[in-house]
Amino acid sequence: MAKEIIKRTKLEIAKSPEGLEGPGFFATKLEDVVGLARKNSLWPLPFATSCCGIEFMATMASHYDLGRFGSERLSFSPRQADMLMVMGTIAKKMGPTLRQVYEQMAEPKWVLSVGACASTGGIFDTYSVLQGIDKIIPVDVYVPGCPPRPEQILEGVLKIQEMAQNESFRRRESDEYKKMLNSYGIE
């Protein structure tokens, strides 16, 4: 019954990972299951400071509906968030705040830099604006545009989903990851 509905309506559901299948059992790698779960339940923490935030509102609303990808639950506390979405100009005064929010997020965490300002400083090539948030925190995916369309933001989220799914189980404990964080001055 459920399979029929999916066939008829072009509905796409999360595919189960590869594994050993038999009557009444299914065996697969824990890493794949965790990856699948992480991929389809990324809770975003919106850090919207300017016009890209308006595009983000459209992304969350019914027309584009980020909820289709399992991210309808915005988390305004970094404790429960998986994905920091930085949308808009980050002034140098805002920098420490952004960094504090990033550092207070629980592992595993990903960062999506939306728009020209967050990624490079954009048109604000001045003394007061941070020339890209990657000067203070590591960024996983950059979304270009000034501001980017909701489709582009969705594409960025999908890229992060891909990363979340394929991430090694031990990556966050590895020395390489710690070294990378240390290069940003994060413990």
Binding site: V34, R79, P96, T97, Q100, Q104, E107, R172
Partner: protein
């Protein structure tokens, strides 16, 4: 259908509760054990919208805030009592008027006492 049910028949319900509780506990523990953690000082600090927390939240503050809050509650309740009186004004008649006014006068005596104690003088 068997009309005489024995306590054993309810075993599946107990089993369901055990499974439900077991599932919740297992998933919570599993996510706790499997998830990566980074317990740095900043991470464990209290979250105040990204601003570094300063000082202690348990500070002494002026008693006047408390007085104003209590006064608000007092007169709030007065208004709450006035609504049903206004709705049933005709049925209650003179008795209602006397009762409500005695209530208001009691409150006003308290209000006068508060004014005489200078509770609303914030500068002093």
């Amino acid at each position: 259908m068997n009309q005489n049910s024995s306590p054993v028949d309810y075993l599946p319900i107990l089993l369901m509760f055990v499974v439900a509780l077991g599932f919740v506990v297992t998933t919570m523990l599993a996510s706790h054990w499997l998830g990566p953690k980074r317990k740095t000082k900043i991470k464990l600090d209290s979250f105040e919208c990204g601003i570094e927390s300063l000082g202690n939240a348990r500070l002494p503050f002026a008693i006047k805030y408390f007085l104003v809050a209590i006064l608000f509650v007092l007169f709030d309740i007065e208004v709450v009592f006035m609504y049903p009186w206004a709705v049933n004004f005709k049925e209650l008649g003179m008795l209602g008027v006397i009762e409500v006014f005695s209530f208001i006068i009691l409150l006003l005596i308290g209000f006068y006492y508060m004014l005489s104690k200078k509770a609303l003088k914030w500068e002093e």
